[in-house]
């Protein structure tokens, strides 16, 4: 028996800022930075948005596609590195907002950009073991880059939700493999506003080592090579790493294009690979095979081999597609971006 995706939904805020705007403030050639990262713009959450609102919108988008009794969702897990509360889970708000509460379990996850995929694997375990009928895994972030840092050009906002179960699956997860080590490539200490990273150390010993190693494990487990897949999606911290990893593993541009959202919306961290997978599911057809390889700093990769089923024809396609959201844009300048992202020191509100 396998577990798989029963329904999916994503959300991308509509505000965007271009690398050129960011570079101009810090005396850098923003356009060159953008080219170097293969990022044309990144998404910015509005002042009334956060990981909780994004997670709810993604979860609701998922529930709108199918007729599923929300009280059959026995577990909700939200993975993020920018939960609005350090203590008080995002998952409980989602549970109320989709009417799944109260007879269910919930918790928040953290593993940099792979917190959402870790939640997916947990839900697989819960549903395969028949503990619960369905579980919901959400990856969602409003990640911050320190002002003037390279990450400021790419750290963006978005999220996606998957309902995982063992029946009515629109895509079965035939294999999942993970590769985890203690690697300090990118981190944020408790109480610190912005994360830190190891510069070029985040490449070969971190992203590539885990993504490629895990991918090779997955090929072995599944008995496949790159050619066997219709779509591939990697975690996408910028528009260059996933393309390089893909080529290294034998994938072609055509397989990668649909899921490579980072070029238009930046790196949505825990949302990245899951939003890419949503974009693929928006157009995939029964029988399509998908290779999904996530990565989270700290470090680890979760890989998935999926096959789309006939059931995908039954889900409702009203509502906005991922591409609709990617294209729904309102560009802002750095001042507005700084205001929305809380980068301006405000006065303490009077009592």
């Amino acid at each position: 028996m396998s577990a798989g995706i029963v329904t999916y939904g994503g959300y991308v805020p509509r505000y965007r800022i271009r690398p050129k705007e960011i570079g101009a403030v810090w005396g850098a050639d923003g356009e060159a930075m953008g080219r170097g990262l293969n990022i044309k713009a990144k998404s910015v959450p509005g002042p009334d948005e956060d990981v909780i609102t994004i997670s709810v919108e993604a979860a609701r988008a998922a529930m709108a596609k199918v007729d599923l009794d929300p009280t059959n969702i026995g577990a909700i897990y939200v993975g993020s590195e920018s939960h609005p509360y350090a203590v008080k889970p995002t998952a409980t708000v989602v549970a109320e907002a989709i009417s799944a509460a109260p007879v269910m379990t919930a918790a928040d996850f953290e593993f940099a950009c792979k917190a959402g995929t870790a939640a997916m694997q947990t839900c697989m375990g819960l549903t395969l073991s028949k503990m619960y009928k369905y579980g919901m895994a959400i990856g969602s972030d409003t990640s911050q880059g320190a002002p003037g840092d390279a990450l400021e050009y790419s750290a963006s906002a978005g999220g996606a939700a998957f309902v995982i179960g063992t029946d009515r699956m629109i895509a079965t997860i035939d294999h999942t493999v993970s590769y985890t080590t203690d690697t300090p490539d990118f981190w944020r200490r408790e109480g610190q506003r912005y994360p830190s990273h190891g510069g070029r150390f985040t490449g070969e010993p971190a992203y590539f080592k885990h993504v490629v190693s895990c991918a090779q494990l997955l090929f072995k487990r599944a008995g496949t090579t790159a050619e066997d897949y219709d779509y591939v999606v990697f975690h996408q911290p910028n528009g260059k790493f996933p393309v390089r990893a893909g080529k290294q593993l034998g994938f072609k541009d055509g397989q990668m294009d649909t899921g490579l959202l980072v070029r238009d919306i930046g790196n949505t961290y825990s949302g990245a690979i899951m939003l890419g997978l949503c974009a693929i599911l928006d157009e995939a057809e029964a029988g399509d095979r998908i290779f999904a390889m996530g990565y989270g700093s700290g470090a680890g990769s979760d890989g998935f081999d999926l096959t789309v089923t006939d059931e995908i024809r039954k889900i409702r396609r009203d509502g906005r597609s991922i591409q609709d959201m990617v294209k729904d844009t309102a560009f802002i300048d750095y001042a507005t971006y700084a205001k929305y992202r809380g980068k301006i020191a405000m006065k303490e509100a009077a009592a």
């Binding site: 928006d282 157009e283 009203d318 906005r320």
Partner: protein, 141 residues
């Protein structure tokens, strides 16, 4: 500050839960114990009823002079919206330029942050509305 006050309204603020009168069928939001139309006849007959969140703008304003906790958003649009169930409510209209809001435009409820009790306090969430999008098949045939 007012933790229970906000917590109590979560079903209505998150999920647009109102009531439908078992006597005359009128829908009210937020929930009422007594139907304004039926009075006493409706006591004990009010049923939980969830609004779909679709409606249109009846009137609106653009707020420039804002209370302290709305400073970040000004100028922002506040509207009276009539939902398809015939209920009227007051909410912000977002994701649209203020000068593009029109009486009669179709809107859809979304989930957003309403405010917070300072940087250490509880965050409050609830409904706002954005312009309704055309719906239709995601995939092109």
């Amino acid at each position: 500050m007012a933790i229970p006050r906000f917590w109590r309204e979560i079903p209505s603020r998150y999920n647009l839960i109102g009531t439908k009168c078992g006597s005359c069928g009128q829908v009210d939001f937020p929930p009422r114990e007594v139907c304004p139309e039926c009075g006493r006849r409706s006591i004990g007959k009010m049923q939980r009823f969830r609004l779909k969140g679709a409606g249109q703008v009846v009137t609106y304003t653009v707020i420039h002079d804002a209370p302290a906790q709305f400073e970040m958003q000004k100028p922002y649009v506040i509207a009276i919206i009539e939902t398809d169930e015939g209920v009227r409510l007051t909410a912000q209209v977002i994701d649209v330029a203020p000068d593009e809001v029109k009486i009669g435009m179709r809107v859809q409820a979304v989930f957003r942050k309403l405010g917070q009790e300072g940087s250490a306090g509880v965050i409050h969430y609830g409904y706002k509305f954005r312009p309704a999008t055309e719906t239709g098949p995601i995939r092109r045939p």
